[in-house]
């Protein structure tokens, strides 16, 4: 979705981004910093070494309140949400009736009667309309447009947060707490999209800049833009909606079968269950794979993937250079017979077929918090 520059929305941290020298670009209808003066390479490495602060306020935050919101939401996602304990967070996808992916999202159970969802910026209007259309009569749906969302990611995130929020360092991975950070009421999830330990912190919009400045003043914390956010999630093997997953890809093809719990596999009852359960049983025709080019040339999105005879197999959906890998990396879809790690492929970059291999993902090992 492209929006003319004049109608760009801004996040509550807009002035701070500009003060920090952020290079602002249009993204999903918002003016967002793609990088700061440090640059994408440095911001990426700083996150993996310390703690990167990301403004993800453009993402959609929604609460679903009902007697049993988990049962209602299970009519829209293939994940086991009824089985989610209070205070826990789960990654899932909204599926379409034909088994494609409408969006990917984080679902947190604040209580038995209230779920908190975080969805992609570019999809948030459509997601909310979808929720209203399917659940509107049965649940109280609220868009939290008056809240900002900050992500603090990296090996130093826990130590930084512990000083501002009691118990943050002991909070389990994929859990949520309704708490305070530096005295500011906040929903804190221990999650993120970089492969690192970290937090996503939802605060009232008018408190966001205060919190961001406070965090940035702490040792090891640096501002990180969308450019490094993308290279970090790519190294972590995580999907970008609109590139690696979309309405044409099923969760099974995308390698997201793990989000479909055993009960949901047995019972179905989610949109697209026909296709998705069939693909689980029989295997999908194509799969999302990680790819490492042999050489140094990055293969970008839409690069053609061929077999060794030059027959087209599919295309790269995300690709670039991994600063922590110190080399190029890509993901894309290939027929299932070519999905085994070690399979040799070619990537056609500027007309030249370059040797590459299918590799297991993540490209860079996840370092999520494993305590508690």
């Amino acid at each position: 979705m492209s929006h003319p520059d004049t109608t760009l929305l801004s996040t509550p941290l807009d002035a701070l981004h500009r003060e920090l020298g952020g290079k602002m670009v249009p993204f999903a209808g918002y003016a967002m910093p793609v990088q700061y003066p440090r640059g994408i390479l440095g911001e990426h490495l700083d996150t993996r070494a310390g703690a990167g602060l990301f403004d993800v306020s453009h993402m959609g935050q929604v609460t679903v309140e009902a007697d049993d919101p988990a049962a209602l939401l299970e009519s829209l996602v293939p994940g086991d949400i009824r089985g989610l304990a209070a205070g826990r967070t789960r990654y899932s996808v909204f599926t379409s009736d034909d088994g494609g992916i409408l969006d990917d999202l984080m679902i947190s159970k604040l209580s038995a009667t209230r779920l908190y969802l975080v969805v992609n910026a570019a999809c948030k209007d459509a997601d909310f309309a979808h929720l209203q259309h399917r659940l509107g009569g049965q649940a109280d749906l609220r868009r939290l447009d008056d809240r900002a969302l900050l992500a603090l990611q990296g090996p130093k995130a826990a130590a930084v947060m512990a000083g501002l929020c009691d118990g943050a360092d002991a909070q389990p991975f994929m859990s949520i707490r309704d708490t305070h950070v530096a005295g500011i009421p906040a929903l804190v999830t221990r999650s993120g999209y970089t492969g690192e330990d970290g937090y996503e912190i939802s605060v009232p919009a008018d408190k966001a800049e205060k919190l961001a400045r406070l965090l940035l003043d702490l040792p090891g914390v640096s501002p990180v833009g969308l450019g490094a956010r993308d290279s970090l999630r790519l190294e972590a093997g995580l999907c970008l909606y609109g590139s690696d997953i979309d309405t044409a890809t099923s969760p099974v093809e995308a390698g997201l079968s793990w989000i479909i719990g055993p009960r949901r596999r047995a019972e179905g009852g989610f949109p697209g269950a026909g296709r998705i359960l069939r693909e689980l049983a029989e295997g999908p025709a194509r799969r999302r794979v990680g790819i490492r080019p042999d050489g140094r040339a990055p293969a970008r999105a839409h690069t053609e993937i061929t077999d060794l005879d030059g027959t087209r197999l599919g295309e790269v959906t995300s690709g670039g250079f991994g600063p922590s890998l110190d080399g190029p990396l890509a993901m894309g879809y290939v027929p299932a017979a070519f999905a085994e790690p070690g399979t040799r492929l070619r990537l056609v970059v500027r007309g030249k077929p370059l040797d590459a291999s299918v590799v297991a993902m993540p490209f860079v090992a996840h370092r999520y918090f494993k305590g508690v």
Partner: protein, 125 residues
């Protein structure tokens, strides 16, 4: 007096006799960000002014480099292949891309001199 000439696409060419040395400007490297890959033309390749002759890639994107003048490539700066970041560090000196035997030196008159290029860049900011 500088013998460097500049294109609107932010390449520079330094001319000595009928040989040119080609690179990208400080403005270009700054706009591109940290470079992680550089692809250079093979020696012997014939280029026309404006042809795509090299590729530079940052973490985020690939960009084309265009030949500032016509001629035949003499030598590529292979140091850049192993050390693309040199383009960020020393864009207008150490990180030259290739040398070229000029086939039509008269073309150079259409390019900007340093003062005109500086003025042009100011207009972009």
């Amino acid at each position: 007096m500088s013998d460097m000439r500049f294109t609107k696409d932010h390449e520079w060419i330094k001319v000595e006799g009928d040989t040119g040395t080609v690179g990208i400007t400080d403005y270009a490297q700054h706009a591109l960000g940290d470079l992680v890959f550089v692809e250079l033309p093979e020696p012997g390749r014939g280029l026309k002014q404006g042809d795509e002759c090299a590729v530079v890639e940052s973490v985020k994107a690939a960009s084309e480099v265009y030949a500032p003048a016509s001629g035949s490539v003499l030598k590529a700066n292979d140091a850049l292949t192993g050390q693309p970041g040199l383009v960020n560090e020393s864009p207008e000196a150490q990180a030259w891309f290739f040398t070229i035997a000029l086939s039509d030196p008269a073309e150079l008159s259409a390019l900007m001199d340093r003062a005109a290029y500086d003025e042009y860049v100011k207009g972009l900011e």
